[in-house]
Amino acid sequence: MTSVTVNGRRYNVNLPDDTPLLWALRDELGLTGTKYGCGMALCGACTVHVDGQPVRACQTSISAVSGSKVTTIEAVGTDRVGRALQAAWVDMGVPQCGYCQAGQIMSATALLKRTPKPTDAQIDEAMSGNICRCGTYVRVRAAIKQAAASQSGATR
């Protein structure tokens, strides 16, 4: 039995310690917003925040996060930056199939919290772990910039 805190709620998960957080979230807790894409931390679809840091849930065991705070796409909108990114995503029509976008937004949120005004190179570096087969990258980049601009206005 492992105890994990996800989106502010504590859960007891009755799975082996080495079970990846991804499958605990999806199959046990019913939080299917975090997506499976590769199982090897190669595509970023399963990105969540652990104590504010972006991690790949498919390569993170539940025992490794038992003392930490996990945030998933379902709750990223409670954060100001996350909400701004979600709004920019909708406004700019970023999603095509939408499947990878949860991971994209989780990576982008972590980026903007660390680097409120990222350069193109910083965006590329932070986002290159997230694959989009529909090829929405040009709009992902633009939406990150729009959200960043809206945030700098908000804090001034």
Binding site: G39, V90, C97, C132, T136, Y137
Partner: protein, 771 residues
């Protein structure tokens, strides 16, 4: 964020939909049985007149407002989308067409996803870039008919002639008296009105469109896609659901010899292993067989599969080797093959040519790799079954699940979720059949069967592999007098027809046979190639190798003649003219009428000229940079791309900018046309630079995204500008989902040639430019 609800099930009284259907009948005669879902025109009896477009598709089209539109007393308009959403925006675009003609206020529209049922909804096979071009007019009529019924109901209520009332933005107005009434209040009465006869339905003048062609509406699914609530096939959850993954034969056509599940059954959470019978090749849409591991969660199933010991018999494809196969295809390409088009006298013209130029191009197998791998959930209850999943072809899913379970298709309900990418992979419902077999073996309990990424990359219906051999005889000015193209590629029909070795008409009609060039002597040949793996259609299909070869070769001829590539391309295309498919020996013509859809070289010229102009063709670039152009006609649309490439001293490629000009006729949602072109540019770059599946001993060698590489953010263009040629709503529409892909790889390679002088003939480029 919009609060619009977009769930799939009707959960409130919807007055208009509750009444029985009247008046409207199905468009095309329903064609019994399962027809190959690749978008091939259904073969009628020889005596039948040919059917084209939506008429030629299985179960044709339906334009009955009682099927697609429901209005609740509170005024909420529910519009059913019967095509599958996989990123093309169809769940926004299709309802938008209905809403516009209906004069519905988009803010009060909700979208309902149709279950698989083509008798009711018309063809649902979402591929071939067909949704808008086949359903624009039926959906317009559907919305207009519902609008007419609302107007008639209001006129009756007020006792005024129907000609005096007009539906306008969710209400009907009587201008003379100033009276107005909302759709919700009228819904019940409107439902009593007869559905107007099809020829009496008055369509809007396009100048009065509110939504069509405007691009101002946000995607209906975007809010749920950014907050984790969107439901894909892999997200299905049912009470008591079990989870399964399958160990499949590593070689296509292989079989299980023996299974030792001792260790598997020791894995905590694993419940059972279930053998799935292999389907003899050609497997069609049937599972390739193997051993399913059923567990209490996905991870346990994956762990259990890892512990499984299976002895396989590889069968006849166990020696398939990409390197040897490439050499064999090259050998075939250098010898005459089946002549599939022959104009003039190529041999005589070659003999009299000033110079002969030849080149050979290679494009490897590719995997679709949608970010959501295939996943389906099935629950069997007695003689009925329910299926949930990411299906491009819900009717084929219904028919084949029924067939495998030995029950009636009418007893199989197929719920279509969002698709996390499709690209052709999810047209094939093998994964739903697997889930059905496993559910049945688990006493009908709901089973979600998930393909892992490894499963997806190693067992997909691969894009074909091809060698394209081209020869041209040119005159003293370097103009081609003779054109010979030999295309060698295993056909996707090998997955359906035993021993098929030649490209089918639909593959030939994807840019090899139907080159609309102004060259007097043209011969196209198709030497045989046997398939040794499962071949299927991949976004843009055979257009990818054909366009790569043809558009690279034209640029090679231009270079040999010392001419500007764009000017030379325009000269080869020749003057603006409309060419019948027959003149190009194209019997397929995308399943469309040859009269309505000839090949229009004026339109092809225009996209070339537009892309070149917008890209600043001819501008001076820094060292290491170059511009390349390519144009291609596919899925009845015309697309040209200009790629600007930068190649650094180490041979690393980046793409500062792509300009795409597209002529797909008139558009419904121009923002999604732009999005599709932007996405296709990224996929095209990935095909050109990274994508390759190789085989050794019959086994696909790439298992995950570390070895099967796709374009990432850093490799994407800095900027993709899309230039849409304005269209006329009175003219036939073209496809959008696929036509953006084919021009990208040749335009990139032509740009690389301009930048470096190096000609790429083998894809992917990977490190070919590195010192």
């Amino acid at each position: 964020m919009s609060a619009r609800r977009t769930e799939g099930a009707t959960d409130r009284p919807l007055v208009l939909a509750n009444l029985s259907r009247r008046g409207f009948l199905q468009g095309a005669t329903a064609l019994g049985g399962f027809v190959l879902a690749a978008g091939f025109p259904a073969a009628g009896r020889a005596a039948d007149p040919p059917k084209y477009g939506a008429d030629g598709m299985p179960n044709g089209w339906v334009d009955d407002p009682l099927v697609f539109v429901a209005i609740a007393p509170d005024g909420t308009v529910s519009i059913t989308c019967h095509r599958s959403e996989m990123g093309q925006g169809v769940r926004t675009g299709m309802p938008m067409i209905v809403a516009d003609e209906l004069e519905a206020d988009w803010k009060r529209v909700r979208v309902v996803q149709a279950p698989g049922d083509e008798k009711r909804f018309g063809n649902q096979d979402t591929d071939g870039s067909r949704s808008t071009r086949h359903f624009f007019t039926p959906m317009r009529r559907c919305g207009a008919a519902a609008r007419t019924m609302l107007e008639a109901a209001a006129a009756k209520r007020w006792g005024v002639p129907v000609g005096e009332v007009e539906a306008r933005n969710h209400e009907v107005v009587h201008a003379k008296s100033g009276r107005r009434i909302g759709y919700g209040a009228l819904a019940k009465d409107a439902a009593q009105q007869p559905v107007p006869a099809r020829d009496a339905v008055r369509l809007k003048d396009p100048s009065r469109f509110r939504y069509i062609g405007k691009g101002q509406l946000k995607l209906v699914d975007a809010p749920a896609m950014v907050n984790g609530k969107a439901q894909y096939g892999i997200d299905t959850r049912l009470p008591g659901m079990l989870y399964a993954v399958v160990a499949r034969p590593p070689v296509y056509g292989g079989k299980v010899v023996s299974v030792d599940a001792t260790e598997t059954l020791k894995v905590p959470g694993v419940l059972k292993v279930v053998e799935i019978d292999a389907s003899p090749a050609p497997a069609q849409f049937n599972p390739v067989g193997g051993v399913a591991v059923v567990a209490n969660n996905t991870w346990a199933a994956i762990q259990g599969r890892r512990a499984l010991k299976v002895v396989w018999n590889d069968g006849p494809n166990g020696s398939y080797d990409s390197v040897a196969f490439k050499a064999a295809m090259q050998e075939s390409a250098r010898k005459p093959g089946k002549v599939v088009r022959d104009n003039g006298n190529v041999d005589a013209a070659m003999a009299s040519a000033t110079k002969k130029i030849e080149a050979e191009y290679y494009i490897p197998h590719l995997a679709h790799a949608p970010m959501e791998p295939p996943a389906a959930t099935v629950r069997v209850t007695g003689s009925k079954a329910e299926v949930w999943g990411c299906f491009q072809s819900p009717q084929a899913t219904k028919d084949l699940v029924a067939k495998r379970l030995g029950i009636q298709p009418a007893d199989v309900t197929v719920h279509v979720t969002l698709l996390g990418g499709g690209f052709g992979r999810k047209s094939k419902p093998d994964f739903a059949i697997e889930a059905a077999v496993v559910s049945k073996a688990m006493e009908g309990k709901p089973v979600k069967l998930t393909w892992t990424r490894e499963d997806d990359l190693m067992h997909t219906y691969f894009h074909t592999v091809s060698v394209e051999h081209l020869e041209a005889g040119v005159d003293g000015q370097g103009k081609p007098m003779a054109w010979l193209h030999r295309s060698v590629a295993p056909t996707l029909f090998s997955t359906f027809v035993d021993g098929a070795k030649n490209e089918h008409a639909l593959e030939l009609g994807m840019g090899v046979i139907n080159v609309p060039f102004d060259i007097a002597n043209i011969r196209i040949e198709n030497p045989e190639a046997a398939a040794h793996t499962r071949i299927g259609w991949f976004r843009a299909v055979s257009n990818i190798p054909h366009a790569f070869a043809v558009q690279s070769f034209v640029a090679e001829l231009a270079a040999a003649a010392g001419r500007d590539q764009k000017d030379y391309l325009l000269e080869v295309i020749g003057p603006a003219r409309r060419i019948t498919p027959e003149a190009l020996s194209d019997t397929w013509n995308h399943g469309e009428s040859p009269d309505r859809y000839p090949v229009d070289t004026g339109r092809l010229r225009r996209v070339v000229e537009t892309a070149a102009r917008e890209a600043g063709w001819g501008r001076t670039l820094p060292r290491g940079r170059g511009l390349g152009i390519a144009a291609h006609y596919s899925f009845t649309s015309y697309v040209a791309a200009v790629v600007e490439v930068a190649v650094d001293a180490a041979g690393v490629i980046s793409v500062p900018r792509i300009d795409v000009a597209v002529d797909c006729g008139a558009t419904v949602n121009p923002d999604r046309v732009r999005a599709q072109m932007q996405g296709a540019a990224v996929m095209g770059l990935g095909i050109a630079t990274l994508g390759e599946v190789t085989f050794k001993e019959g086994r696909a060698q790439q298992e995950n995204f570390d070895t099967y590489q796709v374009t990432r953010m850093a490799g994407a263009p800095r900027e993709t500008r899309v230039h849409i040629i304005p269209g006329d709503y009175g003219q036939p529409m073209g496809g959008v989902g696929e036509p953006g892909v084919p021009p990208i790889a040749p335009a990139l390679c032509n740009a690389i040639f301009a930048a470096t002088g190096k000609r790429i003939r083998t894809l992917p480029i990977r490190d070919q430019l590195k010192a």
